[in-house]
Each structure stands twice: as C-alpha cells, then as structure tokens.
Amino acid sequence: MSRNQANAASRRARWINLASFAGLLLFWVLITAPLFGSQPLVAPLFLPSPASVYDTFLMLMKNGYQGKTLWQHIGISLFRFGVAFGVTILVAVPLGLWMGMNRTVKAVLDPPIEITRPMPKLALLPLLIIWFGIGELSKIVIIVLALFPILSISAMQAVGGVGRRKVQAAMALGASRAMIFRRVIFPASLPGIFTSIRVSIGIGVTMLVGAELIATNAGIAYMAMSASDFLLTNVVIVGVLIMAVLGYTLDLLARALETRIVHWGGKEG
C-alpha cells in the first residue's frame, strides 16, 4: 500500500470514528426526547437527555456538590491517583530494574509479588480501612497495591528483553557495569516500562473508583455514588463522564510523553 493510500485509509477510518460517535449521541437524544406524545422512550429517572445532563454539569460547576466545588471533587480524586501512581512508579520501577539485574534480588522479591499479584485488590479494602483508617491513606495504598506488581514485573521483564548484542557492544567498548546500566540497560528498558505505565493508568483509575465508592465524602466517584442514593441520575452521569474524560486525558498524556521520551521504541537500528 502506498503512503497516499495509507493516508486516505486512515482519513476514512477517522470519518467513520466520528460518524459512529455522532450516531451514539443521536441514539441517546432520540430515546430521551419526547418524540411520540409527551413521554420519552426512556424515563429521565433512568436516562436523562444529553441537554439536561449538560445543564446539570453547568449547575454543578456553579454550585458544587455537597459543600464542595466540582473542582474540589476532581482535585481530591486526582490527588489520590497522582500520589499513588507517583509512589508506585518511583518504587516499583527501580525495584523491578534491580530484580532484572540481580538474581538474588529477584529470588527474594518474586514470592511476595507473585502471591499478591492474582489477588483481587479491592477485596483488601475492608482490611486496609482497619489498618489505615477511612482517610486518604487506605485509598492510596489500595491503588499502589494494584499497580505495584504490574510495574515491577514489567520493568524486570524489560531488562531481560534488552538485546544481548547491545550489552556486549557496550562491554567491548570498555563500559563499567554502572555505565552499562545507566546508558544501555535503563534506556533500552524504557519502551517496555512506558507500555506498562499506560496499562496501569486504566487499572489505577478503576481502583480509584472502587475505593471512592466505599468510605469517603469527596471525590468524583463518591459524588456519583451518593447522587445515586438520591436518584439524581443527572449527577451520576456527569460523574461517570468526568471519570471517562479523566481516564482518557491521562492516557493521552502518557502517550504524548511516550512518543517524546522513547521516540525510538519499536524501531531497530
């Protein structure tokens, strides 16, 4: 396929994406609008119309929800996610790299990581609340627990995947062990680490929602959950959409960082 054809094909796919999205929106409008008689097909209690959800969004922006502004709810959610994510990257990635470099370290750390890996982390939340209380710590810890095995194991595997010839070339150029790690193994592992960072964003957001559904009085998922108690479907949907946008934006951000930092990823030379 020529480059022109490829461009045309990707333009076409883009149009179809857009049309598909517009179709979904139209479907939402149709089933929530009073088209036949005075009643819409789906009652607003179950699914309000896009226009009324938008109105609710503006209202929340102006008045906030339960004594906190919408930004405060978003902020507290982002804070929990950001601290947990940052701590995990700072601890799990170096540890995983170390495991990849050193068999003894791997032998020591493998069992705890492998035992906790398949455990559904949300099941630990009741225990974590007893240990760390219902404050921020238990929520942050549960996200860390979920992301830790993913990031440490993938960093370890990334080290194992570094081309043997690159390491041999560095040795034959007289590089010390420290230099081989710093300038060969670490950068060569970065593409693999970035892939797992992107995977863990989705999982981290999921854990955040799970944690906020249980014991808290702030956060976007909390807002949606408590609104559900009062059958405020509009607020619930605003909350869901905000979380979707957050997840999507974080992924875009990670992808932008990835193409900037590991521009060589997947290319051989």
Partner: protein, 286 residues
C-alpha cells in the same frame, strides 16, 4: 586523519617491539581452544581444539559453513564466552572478559537506538575515560572516516542498513582498539552496498593496518579483504586450510576479476562445498 592513525599505529608497534619474548608480531593466539555447549547427552561440541595465530597488522578472515563455530571463536577472543578447554592470549596475556582493546562490530542490532549517531560513536571514548567534549571530537573524526559526518545528529533508525554498519565500524574504531573483531558485519546488506563498504574497509585497513579478525560467509569478501583466509569445517569446527591471498594490498577493485583471484576462489569454493553439504545434513538430522 588516516595518516594520523597510521602514525599512531607505527608508534605502538615500536613500543611493542621490546617485550618480544612471545612469538614476534603475534597479536592474538588461540591455543587448543575448544568449546562445548550444554552438558550430558544434550552437549554439543561446537569447536574441536583449534590453534591459530593472528599476526599483528594481519587481516584474518574466517570462512566456513553455518554453525561451524566461527562466531563462537570470535566471541571467545572478545571475552563474551569462555573456552571449554585451551586458552586465548592477546599480546601474550590470557583474555579475561571483554575490554576496550578489542573492538567488536556485529552483524546488526547492536547500535544504541536511543542515542544519536555521534553519541553512539562517542560511547567508547567516554567509557575509557575521555571527557565528553574530547569524546565528541574523536567521534566526529571517525564519523568523517566512514563518511557520515553530516549524519551525526540522526538516530540509528533513521539510517539505512549500510549506514548503520558504518556507524558500528566508526564506534569500534573510535576506541582505537588493538584488534577489530567483525562478526559478518555486511551479511545483512544488499550486494552493491556491501561491495562499496568492502572497498571502504580495505581503504581503512590499508591506512591504519589495524589487526582484524573478520567472519564472513562470502569467499569473495574474504579474498578481497584478507591477508589470511582460514577455512573452517562443518561442526564441530576445526581449521581445514589456510590461504595467503595478496589481494588485500591491491587498490584496484577490479582485482576480483583477475585470474589468480578466480583460481583461489574456485579452490576455496571446492573445499567449502563439501562442508556446507555436511552442515546441511546436520541441520536436517536435528
């Protein structure tokens, strides 16, 4: 630049004339080196005990069928692998692991993809203690030698296969190693690129007289470049014959069409054909 290199090389030779207790002018020596991979009934004898001297300033080509242990031999001299029996000496001292005195060029996939071309070539000088600015200056010189000065800021994945190999050669040369070990450096290139690079390597060798151990599948390449052609047998590898062609000293690319060249090529071809068939049978038997 190249004269400069040649000068340095002569100075080194003079300096090394003193400890001539070892065989005069032997840069590297394999003494009864054998290699066995694995153990028990799964063990594979890759190399029969091999003895081989690589003279100072020689360009030694190893040719042999696939799987005959050529690369293993090179890896042992590089220090990447250890011999099962026997030992490898360089300047009379046993090789203990890789070091900067032996530069290695691989077939492909050994460049540091995350560094630009200049930083790739500057890696060795930095590793051996030069300051970053000195290292970059050296790297620019050697990029010039391989004709890639204008590509210093590019990344390896932006270059063609032939250019990538030239970066690999410049990177090895930049450390001013005492011997260059080249493991089929041109095997993955197309025929035209390969021929041009062979001429380039020949020019660099004629100017620097750097000792080279070169592995290749191509009899023509070996005859065109080498002062010594070592023909190896099918696995377990041993030395079947050695040739001393004179074409390495010729500056005429058309030397490959001469009668002498053709005759020697036919002779080596005859030797290798039987070994290649044996290697094929080994592969089929597995």
């Amino acid at each position: 630049m190249e004269q400069d290199l040649a000068g340095r090389q002569q100075a080194k030779q003079a300096a090394q004339a003193a400890p001539a207790a070892q065989a005069a002018g032997v840069k590297a020596r394999f003494e009864e080196v054998s290699k066995r991979f694995g153990s028990g009934s799964d063990a594979v004898q890759a190399l029969q005990p091999i003895s081989l001297d690589i003279a100072e300033n020689a360009f030694v080509c190893l040719v042999g069928p696939s799987g005959c242990g050529k690369t293993t031999l090179l890896n042992i001299l590089a220090g990447f692998e250890t011999a099962t029996t026997g030992r490898v000496l360089m300047d009379g001292r046993p090789v203990e692991g890789p070091d900067a005195r032996r530069g290695v060029v691989f077939q492909q996939g050994a460049l540091f993809t995350w560094m630009n071309v200049l930083d790739n070539v500057a890696f060795g000088p930095i590793a051996t203690g030069k300051s970053p600015s000195q290292a970059r200056a050296i790297a620019s010189q050697f990029l010039d030698v391989v004709g890639l000065a204008s590509f210093a800021r590019r990344y390896p994945y932006e270059l063609s296969g032939g250019m990538q190999q030239r970066v690999g050669i410049a990177r090895a040369l930049a450390n001013d190693p005492e011997i260059l070990l080249m493991d089929e450096p041109f095997a993955a290139l197309d025929a035209q690129t390969r021929e041009l690079l062979q001429e380039e390597i020949k020019r660099i060798w004629q100017n620097t007289r750097k000792t080279v151990l070169w592995i290749t599948h191509s009899i023509e390449e070996a005859l065109f470049l080498a002062t010594d052609v070592v023909v190896m047998s099918a696995r377990p590898g041993r030395i079947k014959a050695t040739f001393r062609p004179q074409f390495a000293h010729s500056e005429d690319p058309a030397v490959v069409a001469s009668a002498d060249f053709m005759r020697m090529k036919a002779e080596i071809f005859g030797l290798l054909r039987g070994e290649a068939l044996a290697a094929q049978r080994q592969e089929e038997a597995q």
